[in-house]
């Protein structure tokens, strides 16, 4: 919010610190001054008044009070409070206007004054100048004074032409369905019962606390001004402002809450200025609806608690002085003194001070947080617990990094278009207020964004290997971690090898790749090649998928190369992972290698062959290494050649050639039991 330096200066006799210095003081003790700008003879300070202090500090008076407290300079703004108004005894406000508030809760106070015989003119230059510095456009002397007093005191005011109000009656009520209003700036609004209005006998004449209506506008002919200085319920105004999508300087102040005791001071200040500037006569009496006066709060403060919370000893005198400078009243009694407590009376304009901690904040910030020295806490030595979720995440990321993968972070959203392409996404959670089509849903898979990553990078990199470990979401409110990697190129077995290493390093054995049987109805919508997809199983439980992205999806994302993906349910992985690992002694006896090449029909799975070799070979076959798969044209139709190294080794002796040859022959014989399998010799 913008404040005028000169205006703030007017509340002090002594010279204020120069703008830059003042800004620094305010920043360190009150609220951040975001910008200082020179504006003609004046400077503006853009102060980020936080919402808790809006009630008293969306005003020059409030800021001036803060400056006085922090700097100790004498503040003379209080003279406004005791303004002596010269009221005209022959005119009675009550004869001009009557106020009826239908709902006290929505409008705790309504004060009005009447000023007659006003002369509507442009306001004097000094007043116009101050409004302009604060970003308001001057209109005429009455309206300008109302705005001026709002900027000064924080109390929004409104001026009506008294002669345009039907039956001289102001009614504060909620709007009826189908009521309409045209505002001062000629905007039309359809009202509803959530919106509080100021009405006369027949119709709304203003949207309460937000904006005035066109009908009772002050114009050149206006003679009788009815000034409104009211207090409205903050939630009511916020609700109305949201419903109408209309924010104003007034609604901003009301929705933060204002002290009801402020209305009187503000209206008197405005009446005084109108009398002085627009030469009006102030009718006798303040029309005031104020059934329940707000009284100051009393808070008990334990003086030891101040030190305990701030961690620095501030003398009792300094604490008391600070509170007094803030216009708080202190009461000390013998019984309070015994327990080292004081009673603090909080002026009603400090809506933010409600508990002892609020008082400690006041003491601390005025004292200066920069003066509090760092002290390490004294605490029991409780060793931090290990977070296994994070531990396995870190380990997984490291393994993939070592395997050549680059980690990416993508947004947790997918677009409408992504959802259309990935037809099989079910149960997507939709956003209520997304900012663009790109964030229509929460992602239920990491794949779409990873494919976009490939698309973006494919012109710069020939091979792309990336992964993400992040959350995915599904209706009703499921969220879980998933690990997804993608590799470009003909890399199915490369990906499979990476997964083997990953799972092994995580201490997971019993890994089994099962052919995923893509259901007929899935074939049209799946993102993988139906016959190039494996389920990854550990101890029979599915922990993820490995597959190749289908041509349809590649086309949609304009991808130039094949893409292999793996998708791992990380919560499951994290549960299976284990740090347990046992050393297997290295055999002291030599190993021997024998090769086998076998011609089998194309459809035979390598695993079938491996299983046979293992079963027959038993414990003496230590390892089988498939080193070649050949499917060349010169082979008999529909066959492929598989070549294996078989490594023989015993734990307890050196195997003789005879023993090995016998076993090898046994294996060959067994393989050839299948009529279509042929071991090549």
């Amino acid at each position: 919010m913008i404040f005028s330096y000169n205006w703030l200066q007017s509340f002090f006799q002594a010279k204020l610190p120069e703008p830059k210095k003042l800004a620094e003081i305010l920043t360190m003790h009150f609220a951040e001054v975001e910008e200082i700008k020179k504006d003609g003879q004046d400077f503006t300070l853009d102060i980020d008044v936080r919402p808790n202090r809006a009630g008293d500090c969306f005003s020059h008076l409030g800021i001036a009070r803060e400056i006085a407290t922090i700097t100790g300079l004498k503040y003379i703004g209080d003279t406004y409070v005791n303004l002596e108004l010269r009221e005209d005894k022959d005119l009675k406000a009550k004869d001009f206007i009557q106020v009826e508030v239908k709902l006290q809760q929505a409008c705790p106070r309504y004060t009005a004054r009447v000023i007659t015989n006003v002369k509507i003119e442009p306001s004097p230059r000094w007043l116009q100048g101050r409004l302009k510095v604060c970003g308001l456009r001057p209109i005429n002397n009455i309206v300008d004074i109302a705005n001026y007093v709002m900027l000064e005191t924080g109390q929004p005011l409104h001026a009506f032409d008294g002669e345009k109000i039907e039956s001289q009656k102001i009614i504060v009520r909620f709007a009826k369905n189908r009521e309409k209003i045209v505002t001062l700036d000629e905007q039309k609004f359809d009202l509803n019962p959530d919106v509080l209005v100021i009405a006369d006998e027949k119709k709304p004449v203003a949207i309460a606390g937000i904006k005035g209506g066109k009908l009772p506008e002050i114009d050149k002919k206006t003679k009788v001004v009815v000034l409104e200085s009211a207090n409205f319920n903050s939630q009511t105004i916020r609700q109305g402002s949201k419903k109408l999508n209309l924010k104003t300087d007034a609604s901003l102040r009301f929705e933060h809450g204002i002290d009801p005791n402020l209305t009187e001071l503000a209206i008197n200040r405005a009446a005084y200025l109108i009398q002085r500037i627009a030469k009006g006569k102030i009718a006798k009496g303040l029309v005031d609806f104020y059934p329940k006066k707000v009284l100051p709060k009393i808070i008990k403060l334990d003086l030891d608690y101040v030190e305990k919370l701030l961690g620095i000893k501030i003398s009792v005198n300094e604490i008391k002085d600070t509170l007094k400078k803030l216009n708080f009243k202190l009461t000390e009694t013998r019984s309070l003194r015994k327990t080292n407590q004081i009673e603090v009376e909080i002026p009603s304009f400090r809506l933010d001070v409600n508990i002892p901690e609020d008082l400690i904040e006041e003491v601390g910030r005025i004292y200066g947080y920069q003066k509090i020295k760092s002290v390490f806490p004294i605490s029991f030595l409780v060793p931090p617990k290990r977070n296994l979720d994070i531990f396995w995440e870190d380990m997984t990321k490291d393994i993939l990094k070592e395997a050549g993968f680059t980690e990416v972070y993508n947004y947790s959203f997918i677009s409408e278009n992504d959802a259309k392409i990935f037809k099989s996404f079910q149960n997507l959670i939709e956003l209520e207020n997304s900012m663009s089509e790109e964030q229509k849903y929460l992602r239920s898979s990491l794949i779409p964004n990873l494919l976009k990553n490939i698309q973006k990078n494919q012109d710069y990199f020939s091979e792309i290997k990336i992964f993400e470990l992040g959350k995915v979401f599904e209706k009703p409110a499921k969220e879980e971690r998933i690990l997804t990697g993608v590799i470009t190129g003909d890399a199915f077995f490369q990906a499979k090898g990476v997964l083997d290493i990953l799972l092994n390093k995580l201490g997971i054995s019993n890994i089994f790749y099962d052919e995923y049987r893509t259901a007929a109805e899935e074939r049209e919508i799946c993102w993988w090649y139906p016959r190039k997809c494996a389920e990854i199983k550990v101890d029979g439980e599915r922990i993820g998928f490995l597959g190749e992205i289908s041509q349809r999806i590649l086309n949609e994302f304009k991808l130039k190369q094949k893409v292999i993906y793996f998708d791992i349910f990380f919560e499951k992985l994290s549960k299976l992972a284990s740090e347990e690992h046992e050393y297997r002694p290295v055999s002291k006896f030599p190993s021997a290698v024998r090769d086998i090449a076998i011609l089998v029909p194309y459809q035979v799975r390598v695993e079938e062959v491996l299983n046979k070799i293992e079963t027959v070979g038993g414990s003496l076959v230590r390892d089988i290494d498939l080193f070649d798969i050949y499917e060349g044209e010169e082979l008999p139709g529909g066959k492929k050649n598989l070549a294996f190294h078989i490594i023989y080794q015993a734990e307890d002796r050196t195997l003789s050639s005879k023993e090995i040859d016998e076993l090898q022959n046994k294996i060959i014989k067994n393989l050839e039991e299948k009529p279509e399998w042929q071991v090549r010799k």
């Binding site: 919402p51 901690e357 002290v375 605490s379 990094k401 680059t406 993508n410 947790s412 973006k456 990199f461």
Partner: protein
């Protein structure tokens, strides 16, 4: 056999001279064969001995064998010298161009946010903080009400929120985990909460709608602002690996009282003022404060029994300063030209 005797002497001199002249191993071999080979001069002499009478045979035989040994030593010596010389000459020629670029093993890369997140976790863990996490989809209760941010209050506008059609929302900060953790764990406690958060706001070089936050919470019997300053100072020192000036100034967050903004001296300009710090010389790093009694109450704790503080750092900000990254949107761009620099 006078001739033979003379032969041995001249043979010795001749051989020595020839050996001396030799330059390479091939020559050496030739000369060796000339004297000691199958048909070498000395070999022939030795072979002819058997035809001599015994006395002579012994005498000349002895001299000839002595000569053979002498020559063998000479040949060995020369052979060693020559080999040594050749090795030295060859070594002089052996050369590789060490400026040819190395062949790198293909390594992957961790995301910069992962790297700095780990660093933060490590720093706080060594100070006794346990790392905990919480859900990204939240209820209004945990994200706002329980944190003393009332409904229909403008304070809620401090957090622009993504709402979901299922009636829930995306958490706008990691602070809900304060409540979730304290509901289940009694103080004293020290936790940090790293996590993704969401803000419904437009993006630019320094604003992003999805970012990473690190929340801290310490609760015990006597935990003060002075303690907060000590821990935060230690964190900065360890994170930036140098002395970093920081300050607390008043700020407002409904779940703390008093509340602070924590700023550090701008690391780009050293506090003189530059575009990064908007000419203030300071960079806002975290919001912090003393835990509000209502937060304890809403976590089912007895407020007056406990004191504590909390803070929330933006991980992107820390990472940007650490690596001099100038655009926050790079983190989630998936651009490998960026990611492969880490």
């Amino acid at each position: 056999m006078k001739v033979a005797k003379i032969n041995l002497k001249t043979l010795k001199n001749k051989a020595k001279k020839e050996i001396e002249k030799i330059k390479d191993l091939k020559g050496l071999n030739e000369v060796f064969n000339n004297y000691l080979g199958k048909k070498g001069e000395l070999t022939l002499i030795l072979r002819s001995l058997e035809k001599l009478p015994k006395a002579k045979r012994i005498k000349i035989g002895k001299a000839a064998n002595e000569l053979k040994n002498i020559l063998k030593v000479e040949f060995d010596k020369k052979s060693q010298e020559t080999k040594e010389r050749i090795r030295k000459e060859a070594e002089k020629k052996e050369w590789i161009d060490i400026t040819v670029p190395g062949e790198r093993p293909v390594f992957g890369h961790l995301h910069p946010l992962t790297i700095t997140r780990r660093k933060c976790e490590e720093i706080f863990q060594t100070m006794g903080f346990t790392v905990v996490e919480g859900p990204e989809i939240e209820t209004e209760w945990y994200n706002f009400d329980a944190l003393n941010i009332p409904k229909d209050h403008p304070a809620r506008d401090l957090w622009d929120t993504f709402f979901l059609k299922n009636g829930l929302l995306l958490r706008t900060h990691t602070s809900p985990v304060q409540i979730r953790y304290m509901e289940k764990n009694n103080p004293p406690l020290r936790i940090i909460v790293p996590g993704t958060i969401f803000r419904h706001e437009a993006t630019d070089v320094s604003h992003e709608f999805q970012v990473f936050q690190i929340e801290g919470l310490m609760v015990d019997k006597k935990i003060s602002v002075a303690n907060l300053k000590a821990i935060v100072g230690e964190f900065f020192r360890r994170f930036f690996e140098k002395e970093v000036q920081f300050r607390l100034r008043p700020d407002f967050f409904p779940f703390v009282e008093p509340g602070f903004d924590i700023s550090i001296t701008c690391l780009i300009c050293g506090g003189k003022g530059c575009p990064v710090c908007k000419k203030t010389g300071w960079l806002e790093m975290a919001g912090a404060g003393i835990v509000h009694p209502n937060v304890f109450k809403n976590s089912k704790l007895i407020a007056k029994d406990w004191q504590g503080w909390a803070f929330g750092f933006g991980l992107e900000r820390l990472t940007m300063l650490k690596y001099k990254i100038n655009d926050i949107r790079l983190f989630r761009s998936g651009d490998l030209r960026f990611l492969q620099q880490f």
